[in-house]
Amino acid sequence: MTQPLPPHVEVAGLTKRFGSFTALDDVSIRFAPGCFHALLGENGAGKSTLVKCLMGYHQPDGGSVAVDGREIGIANPRTAHALGLGMVYQHFTLVPSMTVAENLYVGRDLLPQVIDWRSARAEIDAFMTRMPFRVPVDARAEELSAGEKQKVEILKQLFHGRRFLILDEPTSVLTPQEAEDMLGLLAGMAKTKALSVLLITHKMREVLAFADEVTVLRRGRQVTGGAVADFNAASLAESMVGATAFEATTKRDGARKGGEEVLEVVDLTADGDRGNRALAGVSLTVRAGEILGIAGVSGNGQRELVDVLCGQRHATGGVVAVDGEPYHARRGEMRDHRVGILPEEPMRNGCVRTMTVAENLGLHTFDRPPIARGGFWIDHHVLREKAKALIARFNIRTQGPDAPVTSLSGGNVQRLVLARELDRAPRLMIAANPCFGLDVAAVAAIHDELVAARNRGAAILLLSEDLDELLALSDRIAVMFGGRLVYETGIETADVGALGRHMAGDGAEAA
């Protein structure tokens, strides 16, 4: 069967404004069939806005989109789908209560009036066997970890046979191996001209290894672009932010083995959403002035552990203590012990969608002086001023403290939550994938902040699926597998091979 070529897509002079703010300013790019194009830019540069205009999710205020040589007004994602354009959005767009199978199927352009689930299921199963990764087809989307959701999003597009695939930071929550496999698969399909790929990412490694063309945006403007071969990591990074230094500069100052125990978890058990035993007896200790890194493939209990520690899930057994006192993640306890939490999917778990940036920044402090006058009257002026200070200090790109939090770009939501949590000068910081979706400069800034907090004596529990990040920041690394910590090592003796084996569950044989 010879497949038709992917569409030839061209944008010319594309401009998009939100009110008086220009998010996208006169951008022109050509995507030849079978290209693997990378779109780079710092948080808030306009990358998502550009591709949303392509998908008909936003209407551009100027410029045009042409598909196969014809200028086309894409009024609606359905028009885009009909043209073969498909997108994996930065925020998940799965229907939470539907199963994976239903989610895969509902996006069909020609969904039959009555669905024959038996044949649909056969089709899905056959499709799954050709894919490089597995997902539980009968689980509901809301029960999946972020990594699994991301896989389903990608599978969904491939399942629908979209030939121009837009991926908005698809690999942030995949393990390096999964990301390699997936991008390798897509790059292979692009080589045979079965697919065009437009990839938004912050990882230079991925751009250099897989993409053949690149465009860099800065504050809505197209600053450079061309064949990837003409660039290197440093030159790309420089054109993104207009500076060259993004190595985290704060170094861990000496091991602090002697710090007192801040977080102590003993034999913690908890159930997952499916009633399964997600935590099967986790014990760990984090001391003042150290970073304990937890490595592991997503779905091994990390999410449930963070849920319990931030009060979103009840433990079925075990003890959690902070500073030697029992801890149940109540608001008062978090305040008294200065516990900061950066959860996974911060827009969903750490923000109130209907509130403004300033209100979201003030979620911990709005009921205390100086914001709450006399303890009950909220002084919006102070709230706003405090928000402005945080916006400046953490470099949050927003139209102002009164902008709705939903108008922030993905990376800036992350910064907002981190700003709020670090502002409390935490004694215990729990961070789950803190750099999910951040640009290089922001990653460096956040790593700096975390290490600085550690150097000031904070105890930090860092859960991450990015081994490089863990190796760079942690004092100790533990591996989580099947709801338990199965391996632990000091940073001096950490070895990528051994960690990888334990993450894959081969620890028993290796030991």
Binding site: T93, L94, V95, D273, R353
Partner: protein
């Protein structure tokens, strides 16, 4: 009633409760099916109480004027759909809250129905014929209690069909998508407002049928006290049924049965605590809600969009 006691003895009570469950449960069934459908699209239509009254009036009036009770049912359903359409029209304006719109519309519909219903209090409209499902018995009491209204049978059929449609039709999947994640729906290119409008109208259609039952089933009269909050109770009922149409059927029967308990007991001579037992359905709801909810999980099956403070 005297004779029934002699014929069946204590068995009269369960029989009367069953028939009462069906009789009282039928309007509950239709309103809750309508509400279930609407809520699955991510919107609450609290005005169904008004729709019920409107449906009762329209159905009765049409049956009286045309002589056909079935035309009355159809007219009531259409009036319900029309009210549903008005509700979605209100809700599609930016900044309109669906609860507030529902309350306004409920008062409006009730008022209109009372106004146009004034001349209908005297005349007698033809009733819907009952199905004599007690034909196999020669006991009068069995025959009397098993005269089932055909609308109940229709409702019993609609419930599983609706459930099937939620899971197996394009329309059902789209409805659930819109109700669960407006963002996902937009990414699919589905019109959120249009889908919700459709669901609200069909929901109103069913509630209208429930209204027609109130005035066109035995004893077949129209007055202003026909509905006593069934439309509002339906909102609770749907939560209790966890947004599942077949469970709506059981819930409606349970509710109807609880309401029929007091009269049934009275028919065998137990009348102490009559008023307390009348409150049984409400107590039942409260108890069931408390027992079945859990701090661990959000209510299973709750359409996620219902939880959001939506202004779009």
């Amino acid at each position: 009633m005297e004779s029934s006691l002699t014929e069946l003895g204590w068995l009269t009570v369960p029989l009367a409760v069953l028939s009462g469950a069906i009789r009282v449960g039928t309007p509950f069934l239709f309103v809750s099916l309508g509400e279930c459908l609407t809520e699955r699209s991510g919107r609450i239509n609290i005005s169904l109480e008004g729709t019920l009254v409107m449906g009762a009036m329209t159905g009765y009036g049409t049956a009286y004027l045309t002589g056909s009770p079935w035309l009355g049912v159809l007219a009531a359903a259409c009036a319900g759909a029309l009210l549903g359409g008005m509700h979605s029209l209100l809700c599609s304006r930016p900044g309109v809250d669906h609860i507030a719109a529902g309350i306004a519309l409920m008062l409006f519909a009730t008022g209109i129905a009372f106004f146009f219903g004034k001349p209908l209090i005297q005349p007698r409209a033809p009733q819907l014929p009952d199905l004599p499902l007690g034909f196999w018995s020669d006991l009068n009491v069995v025959q009397a209690n098993l005269r089932i209204n055909p609308l109940f049978v229709i409702g019993v059929l609609v419930a599983p069909v609706m459930w099937w449609a939620f899971n197996n039709t394009r329309w059902g999947l789209y409805l659930r998508t819109v109700g669960d994640s407006a963002e996902a729906a937009r990414a699919l290119g589905l019109g959120v407002n249009g889908t919700r409008a459709m669901a609200t109208m069909i929901g109103g259609f069913f509630a209208g049928i429930g209204g027609a039952f109130l005035s066109l089933s035995y004893p077949g009269i129209w007055n202003e006290g026909l509905s006593s909050g069934q439309g509002l109770m339906a909102v609770v009922l749907v939560i209790f049924a966890r947004w599942h149409p077949v469970r709506c059927l059981w819930a409606a029967l349970l509710f109807g049965g609880a309401s029929a308990l007091a009269p049934a007991l009275q028919s065998v001579g137990i009348s102490s605590g009559y008023h307390l037992i009348t409150a049984a359905p409400y107590l039942l709801t409260l108890i069931l809600m408390i027992v079945t909810s859990s701090p661990e999980r959000s209510l299973r099956g709750a359409p996620a969009e219902l939880a959001l403070n939506r202004t779009d």
